[in-house]
Symmetry: C2
Subunit: 289 residues, 2 copies
């Protein structure tokens, strides 16, 4: 029993949820309602997430503090998933646990005319986190190989080129101090139906509903395939993809916050040492009438 | 007694903390440790702020939802105050109660070379909130009549011109749907000493300390005067200044969240009506195999 417990704790969530990359992926074989490594149910999950939030906030402050003394490290959380998979909910419930000052959140919508006139990574580069910050992408450059592929928004040869462009881009981010945490929020086709129905049945949720959600849903298999290809081709050692089962919201929040925590703990940012004479300033301060 | 209670509740915090504008202000006559209209002490204050946070988050969602249907309204919270007055703490503890997605936070540091080459409002305009958003300025365009005045960073005639430029700018924001909430976090000279000492005495706070804090502190009277002039000349009906006593952090957080709440309640944003045929989409959704 002790052995089993030990084994359980020695497996990080990163290891559990990380997709291998470089090999074919079949999303239909991954249970979207699973709770791998997670707490025992909703109540325990929410409590655990709140506790993780306190540790995250403390590490976030250290990351920021370290940046004021020249530490160039930063974190970029990429959230992808089908409509209703909970990207917005994750920002609200997980990023909401942090100090908003240090979070740079960017939602990527359909590109504007100006953005379309530039290479697809242009708008992404402008949204990158600065040293000490946590960047959060609600959708990302992956849309350019997801919706772009499914809806034929670019020629196939161009789409194919983009996977390698993304890998080079992410390699360069990793090389210059960015820890990438790419999460695919995996929901089932039936769970999406339930969530869309809820948006229709509750007048206060009507504003969240878009007719295009139904059109995209009709393309579910094509989107799943596009995700499989993207995560196969852009799942790398320096920027792996994590598959987060997301039918259960409490698990999704716990899992994303745990992934953030494990990465920040590994970064282990430190408060910088004083680069001034503390005693001298103390004296001056007490001397001011 | 019943009469007294009624009177107490009928006075909004806006009315209590609002500076008249247009007339001379003497900050030394305002007690920075006061708690006007506030809860009875720290414990009650923190609990009240948490409850206000839930109401704020609900109103924030409505403001955002309304913007998706064309409502152009937005809110801009301007935080000003001496070093250590708690601008950052207010962002962490008050804005931290909200959904970070809808918050656009901008800290204004010493202007860059590019920013200095433009008119002083240029960088401010780029940071304005979009419809449905809550913008937060941690320092603001007021620095251009505060530090700029105290340290002589611009000629006196130019500084004098800026008050009117600010008023015109803010009038135009108000006219186009921005609710401005300008808060001066008022701390005492002694409280600033205590907070700076704390930053020196706790190694984990050393990174927050800057030698320039002590230099600025030596100019305390000049800064107080610059604030008095700014709040006299830029306290207007469309963009009033609120004086928030800030020696007690729990009161400061309660007061700023209450000011936000009162303004959002007055805006009373509404969830938009569905602009699509709910029954039709329901049928299509259930029809998808």
């Amino acid at each position: 029993m002790a052995q089993k417990d030990k084994k359980k704790h020695s497996t990080s969530l990163r290891e559990r949820l990380r997709l291998p990359g470089g090999e074919p992926l079949d999303l239909s074989r991954h249970d979207a309602a699973a709770t791998p490594g997670g707490p025992d149910g909703k109540t325990a999950g929410r409590a655990a997430t709140a506790r993780i939030g306190e540790r995250l906030a403390a590490l976030q402050e250290r990351l920021w503090a370290a940046s004021t003394a020249g530490d160039r490290r930063r974190v970029l959380l990429v959230l992808q998933g089908m409509d209703t998979s909970g990207k917005g909910g994750t920002v609200k419930h997980v990023i909401g646990l942090l100090n908003p000052s240090g979070c740079r959140i960017t939602p990527f919508k359909a590109p504007t005319a100006e953005e379309r006139a530039h290479p697809f990574l242009w708008r992404v580069e402008k949204a990158l986190p600065l040293p000490g910050e946590l960047g959060i992408f609600d959708r990302s450059h992956y849309e350019d190989v997801l919706i772009a592929r499914v809806r034929g928004l670019a020629p196939a040869t161009e789409i194919n080129r983009r996977y390698e462009q993304i890998n080079r881009f992410e390699k360069s981010l990793a090389d210059t101090g960015t820890t990438l945490i790419k999460c695919f929020l995996h929901i089932s086709y039936e769970e999406q139906r339930r969530r869309l129905l809820k948006r229709l049945d509750e007048p206060e949720k009507h504003w969240k509903f878009a007719a295009s959600d139904i059109d995209d849903r009709a393309l579910w298999p094509a989107y799943q395939e596009a995700y499989e290809i993207a995560m196969e081709r852009c799942g790398t050692s320096y920027a792996p993809w994590y598959l987060v089962p997301a039918d259960r919201k409490w698990y999704r929040n716990w899992a994303v916050s745990t992934l953030l925590l494990e990465h920040l703990e590994e970064l282990d940012p430190r408060y910088p040492e004083a680069d001034f004479d503390v005693a001298e300033f103390r004296k001056r301060l007490l001397g001011q009438s």
